[in-house]
């Protein structure tokens, strides 16, 4: 199982802030989770955003970061605090 969270614009466009995905053999990186989601259809292509940022278990990560079952993966647009 992988928990996926979305924030800000992604959350609104996907109309969801949280998903639970049953673990699939072959998943190796955060990027694989993204690819899985973008194949769900039109709305999900928002995650192909070139400035997409991601976090793994509450730490910033890259799309290359390895995932395993039980992880929490978060996708969000460029941050704009301050």
């Amino acid at each position: 199982m992988i928990t996926v969270l979305f924030f800000a614009r992604y959350k609104e466009e996907l109309q969801t802030d949280r998903l639970q995905l049953p673990w699939q053999d072959g998943w190796q990186t955060v990027g694989d989770i993204r690819t899985h989601l973008t194949q769900r259809g039109e709305a999900w292509t928002v995650l192909e955003d070139s400035t997409l940022m991601c976090a793994l278990n509450e730490e910033m990560c890259s799309l290359d970061s390895p995932v395993q079952s039980g992880d929490e993966v978060v996708f969000f647009p460029l941050v704009t605090g301050g």
């Binding site: 969270l5 924030f7 800000a8 614009r9 609104e12 400035t51 976090a55 509450e58 730490e59 910033m60 978060v74 969000f76 647009p77 460029l78 941050v79 704009t80 605090g81 301050g82």
Partner: protein, 156 residues
């Protein structure tokens, strides 16, 4: 020595400035940045601002940025406060205060923290205008400002 706060309530930047010095006679310089909500952005009048964040990560990421600053410069105090939730024009959004024996270190550390906060802390702004509400886009100038610090030099 490092203090990090994330809160919805309005805060008083002047009171925080006093706290950064804290009457410590070893401190020769404090630099305090305060970011305020403007009523105008990208040619539009802005009536309100909503600051979304990722509660699990927000304080952790601010603390990590403060710790990096303390490794780069000799600091006696770092205070970061960032608001979340609903804001109105002229309200303070963020405060970063640094204290050091010498001014150069306090200036560099304060600007470093703001540049990193702008690109590495999980906050997102949504502006409310007469024609609707819009997520604010991240700016490439902020990315560039943060990259200035990627060298070994203490100053960009």
């Amino acid at each position: 020595m490092i203090q990090v706060q994330v809160q919805e309530q309005l805060f008083d930047p002047g009171a925080l400035l006093h706290g950064v010095h804290g009457a410590n006679p070893a401190i020769g310089a404090t630099v305090c940045f305060t970011g305020y909500m403007r009523d105008f952005n990208q040619d539009q009048q802005v009536q309100g601002l909503f600051l979304e964040h990722f509660p699990g990560m927000t304080e952790k990421s601010l603390r990590a940025i403060a710790e990096q600053a303390c490794q780069r410069w000799p600091l006696q105090a770092v205070h970061i406060l960032h608001r979340v939730g609903q804001l109105t024009p002229s309200e303070p959004i963020v405060f970063v205060g640094t204290a050091s024996a010498h001014r150069g270190d306090a200036f560099a550390a304060c600007e470093f923290i703001m540049d990193y906060l702008k690109t590495r802390a999980p906050f997102w702004k949504k502006e409310f205008t007469a024609t609707g509400s819009y997520w604010v886009d991240g700016r490439s100038s902020d990315q560039q400002a943060a990259e200035r610090w990627n060298t070994d030099k203490e100053r960009p």
